[in-house]
């Protein structure tokens, strides 16, 4: 933008020098929507004569002769040259530039063209994620950015998504990137104050994807270091739509669709279940539990059928953008609703967004926007929770009728878990949240090239949660009904003051810089009250509780005061040099390390500008770049962890007492990553084929770990900056216009990333950190699975053959070894868009390969008599008699061989998968038809998400994590809400 302005100025000054010449007028419009384009540079080729187009796209220029050629240039559009000849009116239609290298890329505290970028940044535009039937933008970028691994923790509507930018870099702190929306680092944690099992909420779903203009992922330190102590996991910059000068445009989009589980793994029938139970007893030398008649006539409850329904997803969105030269606006309203395919779960979002930009004078301007979002969710216990709906269906015994003859829940308490349908329908858990994101920035141009901007931004989430477990379900039975009401207020304030400067020296030297200061404060205020003993299931609020038995409130906060600066230097469009520095002071850091310094630098060289290449027909771009920088992660430090604190509650004699709750550590500081990045960007045949390759090495040190200390100190451990980890990897992105002939166009994008992770040091190398069957161990990737190896089922005995690693004659935990890892060998996406006349077809594959999953559900529902849970159909493939060759051991209740032991690789599976993530077909009415109707755009389409998944994984879905947020124990499938397959029909209408 800045460049454009500068350019316009130059053009303005140079007009009117050639008085003898004649005048040409005309209008510039866009081929995309037929709308006029203001601000297009119209220049007489080979001269400095030029003018910008005005608001309605028209221009008037004097040309020296008929031989003159006019060049039309605009940001984001393909430049066009027109020979004037004898024309006096020249109307030009510009095509949007789909080539990314010309695109504007948003960076921290600024923007630049892709050509100038010297760091590693992935961009996803609104076009790429348009109309995807997902609640949040994080799901939408899955598979679309190299090096960015996006995985849904489960299929829960509005549920958590995990994003790892270039692997995992922390053992105890978050591995999620920093999300910055229009300059504001937002709160992105869980907001449900009531435990839901492994499931957590996802506040990114509170941003309407329709309002998003672009998403940039800052991956290397050179791009992310401007966010200092929060940049180590990468930064996701989300830029929302703003007004645009010109006639107001109204856009309407609607889609509606249905959802079902992307895959089903059935359980056995009642008869089969009883037969398996009998077999286990007989195999153990005992008597069958059920008579033959009981087996044959067993009732059969298909719990999955009972809890599933046809899920629905719908989205209605309207937006208007327009404005004059001095004032532009964008306003939108949206409704998104997703009723999950499991009863009880839904997610609804009402959103509105308003943006107003105004120029008071040449010197003073204002940019403002306000988003207000209300989300209402019905949540249920789920994932890794025995009171979960899907859990109960998975583990419920099939051999009884689901309902009594009176229609009541049958046997609601007969199993440990409860009646699946009752858990879905009787429990109430409503989360109702409002989110406000106001944003005001005022700019002042001090002198040409030097600008000062001050901004005030906030992110305020108010949430209210009501839960009620009636006495008709197990979780509320003991208390005769439990109701909880929770209120949360999460507030983030930000004030930033930035000076920016840019200047061109001579013909060859361009320089720009920013210098800024930032103050951010986050406050969390939470509280809840619980009541028990309700008159009956119909009384759901605490007012009816006989006893208000529990309640609490608390508050915590942190603040950051930062200074930052960046300078870019460019020489002859060839050499690019950039350096940045941020200093972060955080209330979380210990007194001795209150301020962290995060420098970064990068260099790029555009070889294709050299004389020996710039006329090449084949190579249109060849750029090399190197960057190095330091970023931090301060998430692992509790808000007041460095201080010597006394907490209340150490009561004695019914009087309040307090006691030291932690040992202060004045040296406590951020985790620190240093990243070296090499990149090459290549364009061929006028950028029709483009290839980018990145190689990076990231070393993270000062990992926060608990170090045990002598107990005579009165404490057991202290948190210190001790560990270290390394990630290195290669990322390739390819995009091509494969075919463009006879109206047929085929564009393709492909990206693939190979990332290797290794823990390089922990507190004590000989004592790996264990979490479930996963470990943080030196020399292993984080979360490596440590298990006893199995060598198939013995055809003679039907028992598993465990590998006696140390040959001591017994199988015990000493025989464990590293047998798998949660992070993939490689992952990526493959996108193809075909257009022909008005038709468009999009086929998008996403793949994640070479990672393992612990199928913990299988340990429960392939028990083969060991317990009394329901059983998966996989159990039918068990060993039955000598000579049987199978992977599934025999049925046994006694299990003397411990086939069911938790720490064997029987439960470890390859999770590799390829998904047809997205398939859509659309039709756009031709302009000729539309114009007569006064319509700018009309497109209808059908879209399918998660249509096909190719995987060897035997569970419901390999993309999951029953405990999101866990860094070590990752990829455990424990009764996880499966992913949805979604089919939608949609309409885009523009006026």
């Amino acid at each position: 933008m800045r460049k454009l302005l500068l350019f316009s100025f130059l053009l303005l000054f140079s007009t009117g020098l050639y008085a003898q010449s004649r005048v040409v007028t005309g209008k510039v419009t866009s081929s995309e929507d037929g709308q006029p384009i203001p601000g297009v540079g119209v220049q007489v080729k080979g001269t400095t004569t030029g003018v910008p187009t005005d608001l309605d796209g028209s221009f008037r220029i004097e040309i020296p002769s008929s031989e003159s050629v006019l060049v039309f240039k605009a940001l984001g559009m393909i430049s066009k040259e027109v020979r004037v000849g004898n024309q006096s009116i020249i109307n030009v239609v510009l095509d949007p530039d789909t080539k990314t290298l010309g695109e504007v890329v948003v960076v921290g505290y600024g923007e630049m063209t892709k050509r100038e970028v010297t760091g590693a940044i992935s961009s996803v535009s609104s076009q790429d994620i348009k109309d995807l039937p997902v609640a949040g933008v994080d799901q939408a970028i899955q598979g679309r950015a190299a090096g960015v691994l996006v995985s849904s923790a489960s299929g829960t509507p509005g549920g958590a998504i995990s994003i790892n930018v270039r692997g995992t870099a922390s053992i105890s702190a978050s591995n999620e990137p920093l999300y910055v929306v229009d300059g504001l680092p937002i709160y992105s944690g869980n907001t449900s104050s009531i435990g839901l099992g492994g499931q957590v909420t996802n506040v990114l779903s509170q941003i309407n994807p329709n309002d998003i203009e672009s998403i940039e992922v800052l991956k290397d330190a050179a791009s992310a270091a401007i966010y200092g102590s929060r940049g180590a996991n990468g930064v996701v910059l989300i830029t929302t739509k703003r007004g645009k000068a010109g006639k107001a445009q109204v856009d309407l989009s609607i889609y509606r669709g249905v959802q079902e589980p992307a895959n089903r793994v059935e359980n056995v029938t009642g008869s089969q279940w009883r037969q398996l139970m009998n077999e286990s007893r007989v195999n153990d030398g005992g008597n069958p539990i059920f008579t033959e008649e009981q087996v044959a006539n067993a009732p059969n409850a298909d719990w999955f059928d009972l809890i599933f329904r046809q899920g629905t997803v719908e989205d209605y969105n309207v937006s208007i953008r327009g404005g004059s030269e001095n004032t532009q606006f964008f306003v939108s309203g949206g409704l998104f609703r997703n009723e999950g395919f499991i009863k009880g779960f839904d997610f609804t979002r009402y959103s509105t967004s308003l943006s107003v930009d105004h120029k008071f004078s040449e010197k003073v301007d204002l940019r403002s926007n306000l988003r207000i979002v209300n989300t209402r969710q019905n949540l249920r216990n789920n994932d890794n929770n025995i009171f979960g709906v899907f859990s109960a269906a998975n583990l419920g015994r099939p051999d009884f009728e689901p309902f009594t003859e009176e229609g009541d829940y049958n046997n609601a308490f007969s199993t440990l878990i409860g009646h699946p349908l009752a858990l879905a329908e009787e429990i109430k858990n409503e989360l109702n949240e409002f989110r406000f994101q106001p944003n005001i920035a005022v700019g002042y141009k001090i002198i040409p090239g030097l600008r000062f901007e001050t901004s005030f931004r906030a992110d305020i989430i108010y949430g209210r949660q009501d839960t009620y477990d009636p006495n008709t379900v197990r979780s509320g039975f003991a208390t005769n009904g439990t109701g909880t009401q929770a209120n949360n207020l999460f507030t983030t304030y930000l004030n930033e003051n930035v000076l920016s400067y840019s200047k061109t020296f001579g013909d060859d030297h361009y320089f720009d810089a920013i210098l800024g200061q930032s103050y951010q404060r986050y406050i969390s205020e939470t509280g809840f009250v619980t009541g028990i003993n309700f008159p009956g299931p119909d009384f759901k609020y605490i007012t009816s509780a006989a006893e208000v038995n529990s309640g609490s409130s608390s508050r915590t906060e942190y603040a950051l005061l930062s200074y930052f600066g960046r300078a870019n230097y460019r020489w002859r469009e060839k050499l690019l040099i950039s350096a940045s520095l941020r200093s972060d002071g955080s209330s979380r850091f210990g007194e001795e390390n209150r301020y962290g310094i995060f420098p970064a630098g990068s260099v790029g060289y555009i070889l294709s500008e050299e004389s020996f290449l710039n006329s090449s027909e084949v190579i249109s771009l060849l750029k090399g770049r190197v960057s190095y920088g330091i970023t931090g992660n301060q998430d692992g430090i509790g808000n007041f962890q460095a201080l010597n604190l006394y907490s209340a509650g150490a009561n004695y004699l019914a009087s309040p007492g307090f006691a030291p709750s932690q040992l202060p550590n004045a040296r406590l500081s951020w985790e620190e990553s240093s990243t070296l990045n090499f990149g090459v960007d290549m364009g061929f045949f006028n950028d029709r084929f483009q290839l980018s390759a990145e190689y990076f090495i990231q070393n993270t040190t000062n990992l926060l770990l608990n170090k045990p200390i002598p107990n005579t100190s009165g404490f057991t451990s202290i948190t210190e900056n001790i560990g270290s980890m390394r990630n290195n990897g290669l990322e390739l992105s390819l995009s091509a216009n494969v075919l463009n002939k006879g109206g047929f166009n085929w564009d393709t994008q492909f990206n693939i990333s190979f990332i290797k992770n290794e823990v390089t040091s922990i507190v004590d190398e000989s004592t790996p950190i264990n979490s479930l069957q996963s470990r943080a161990a030196v020399g292993q990737p984080l979360g490596a699975f440590f298990l006893i190896e199995t060598n198939g089922v013995d055809p003679e005995t039907g028992d598993l053959r465990f590998v006696d690693l140390n040959n001591d004659g017994v199988i015990n935990p000493d025989d464990r070894q590293y047998l798998g890892k949660p992070n993939p060998d490689y992952f990526g996406g493959f996108n193809n868009t075909f257009t022909y006349k008005g038709f468009d077809l999009n086929v998008f594959f996403q793949f994640t390969q070479g990672f393992d999953v612990i199928n913990r559900s299988a340990q429960f529902n392939q028990h083969l008599g060991f317990s009394a849970w329901g059983m998966s159909e996989i159990a039918l493939q068990r060993w039955q008699q000598p000579g049987d060759i199978t992977d599934i051991p025999r049925a046994t209740a006694a299990d003397p061989n411990r086939n069911n032991r938790v720490d064997s690789d029987r439960w470890l599976e390859d999770g590799s998968f390829v998904r047809l993530k997205n398939l859509s077909i659309g039709y756009t009415l031709p302009k000729s038809v539309l114009q007569s109707m006064g319509v700018r755009q009309f497109r209808i389409y059908a879209m399918a998400q998660n249509l096909v998944t190719w995987t060897k994984y035997t569970g419901w879905d390999p993309e999951l994590n029953s405990s999101p947020g866990a860094n070590i124990a990752r990829n455990y499938d424990f009764l996880t809400f499966p992913q949805a397959r979604t089919i939608t029909l949609g309409l885009n209408l523009g006026f």
Partner: protein, 518 residues
């Protein structure tokens, strides 16, 4: 023009810089629910709260990494003391390791006691370090400071003595044996951890010297007023008497006894000290409440109580002492509440339980730490020891003052004629201690000091763990399976230093007790 420009630029830079001028304050946030160090001792209420925090640490501490089960003094000290001895009998896993001498440097029962005691000691040391600061700041008066300091010193000594009788050889054998680290400064910052690591085990003599120093100081600082639930001057004196008994300083025991003999009295009803906790016999106890207690898996009433009363019945009175001929069948301390309505024991089909503790639902029985009866019997023993040739008459009088109240009038008091020699008198006093303090955790300290002097050979035979499953073990002469005795010379006689303690001390690891690996 140039001037104006540069002025504008200057203004802009100044504006940016100004906004950050208050940098120190903005990142110096203070937490809302928790108070930082500097404010913890800022007024009298807070200082009092910090002192209560030491008591709370005594009530509840770490067991297997979680704060639970009444370590060290919420119940564990009592249960450990009984389970190392033979007079209470174990039926379950909870204290089986202690009962069967199965401890090693990794077992939870002994390790839990270690860390919980040091956690309590550290809280005491933090208070001690801050009291003078609070006094200088005017937050508390000199009188308040003295009282709090006395309490902290008393609690510190109590905890260290508990450590030294479990983890070190007895003073009565060899005062130069390895002691336990005596912590006299707090670890209240990561930077002091190393300083803490440097404190070695020292000698048993050194530990006892410091114990007496702490208690002498506490005696001078504490007020004689107050009930048993917070340390008083009487508590400091009584603890000194106990410690001097371990040191075989017989005159010292008498000196301490004489200081408090007028202030306390043995109750006429032996049950009374267990029913309101504030009788004339109760010198010091930790109070447990519904809100703060050892929980269902630790509380005295649940662990020791009769299942018929809603308790778990994991530990019973041993049939060995129940059938011992020195325990008179008509002794009031055998009164069965199931037949008499109230009493000190409770019988059921599985055996006989103590009924000193009754609240198996909210776990609010206090943990009785020191009673005057103990000091009376300590004085009796001291008198007897000081008169090796003739059984001491005053010792007999003191013994009778405890014994007679529990016996019917028909049973005569002891006279000199009952004792062949002083040894027999000492034996009677020790047996009286076993009866009077049954289920109060006092048996191990006696085994410890008496084995050290050679009077006992070590831990005597116990009823084999989990072998007593019928009341007839008590009421008939059914054979009791014996096991778990231990020679004094056996390395298992004292507990090992936790392995974790040794491994985590990188600069100056504590030497392990002999016989334990690691």
């Amino acid at each position: 023009m140039k001037n104006i420009l540069s002025n504008k630029i200057k203004t802009a830079f100044v504006a940016v810089a100004m906004i950050g001028a208050t940098s120190c304050e903005v990142t110096d946030l203070q937490p809302a629910n928790i108070i930082p160090d500097a404010e913890a001792f800022a007024d009298a209420n807070r200082v009092n709260a910090a002192v209560l925090g030491i008591y709370e640490a005594a009530q509840r501490g770490f067991y297997l990494g979680a704060v639970q089960r009444g370590y060290p003094f919420g119940a564990a000290s009592t249960q450990q003391g009984d389970m190392r001895g033979e007079d209470m009998y174990n039926d379950q896993l909870f204290y089986e390791i202690t009962y069967t001498n199965g401890q090693n440097p990794n077992t939870a029962n002994n390790n839990g006691q270690w860390i919980s005691l040091y956690r309590m000691i550290n809280r005491a040391n933090i208070v001690i370090e801050n009291l003078d600061i609070a006094l200088e700041a005017g937050a508390i008066t000199q009188e308040q400071r003295d009282g709090y300091l006395g309490e902290a010193l008393f609690l510190r000594a109590l905890a260290h003595h508990e450590l030294v009788i479990y983890f070190s050889r007895p003073y009565s054998d060899d005062p130069s044996a390895m002691g336990i680290p005596y912590r006299t400064f707090p670890i209240n910052d990561v930077s002091r951890v190393a300083e803490g690591e440097a404190v070695g085990r020292g000698t048993v003599q050194g530990v006892y010297d410091q114990l007496l120093e702490d208690l002498d100081a506490a005696e001078g600082l504490l007020s004689p007023d107050g009930n048993a639930f917070r340390a008083t001057q009487g508590a400091a004196i009584a603890l000194k008497a106990r410690i001097k008994l371990h040191m075989e300083d017989w005159n010292g025991v008498l000196t301490e006894y004489n200081k408090i003999a007028g202030d306390y009295a043995v109750t006429a009803d032996p049950l009374e000290p267990f029913r309101n906790g504030t009788s004339s016999d109760n010198i010091f106890s930790f109070e447990n409440t519904e809100a703060s207690n050892a929980g269902v898996n630790g509380a005295l009433a649940t662990m020791y109580g009769n299942p018929a009363n809603g308790a778990r019945g994991l530990v019973k009175i041993s049939p060995l002492i129940w059938r011992a001929d020195f325990w008179h069948p008509e002794d009031l301390r055998r009164t069965d509440e199931t037949t008499e309505g109230e009493g000190m024991v409770s019988s059921g089909p599985l055996g006989i339980f103590t009924y000193k503790y009754t609240d198996a639902s909210t776990y609010s029985d206090p943990t009785v730490i020191i009673r005057f009866s103990e000091i009376v019997l300590a004085a009796a023993e001291a008198q007897a020891r000081l008169s090796p040739t003739i059984p001491s008459a005053s010792a007999i009088t003191l013994l009778n003052s405890v014994r007679d109240r529990a016996l019917p009038a028909s049973v005569p008091s002891y006279t000199a004629l009952d004792f062949l020699n002083t040894d027999a008198l000492i034996e009677a006093i020790i047996n009286e201690r076993r009866i009077e303090f049954l289920a109060e955790g006092r048996r191990w300290p006696d085994i410890h000091r008496l084995s050290g002097e050679g009077r006992m050979a070590g831990i005597p035979d116990k009823a084999a763990s989990r072998s007593v499953n019928n009341l007839d073990f008590y009421t008939t002469d059914r054979e009791i399976l014996l096991d778990h005795s231990l020679e004094y010379s056996d390395d298992l006689f004292i507990w090992p230093i936790p392995l974790e303690e040794i491994l985590t001390n990188t600069s100056n690891p504590l030497p392990q007790n002999p016989g334990y690996s690691g």
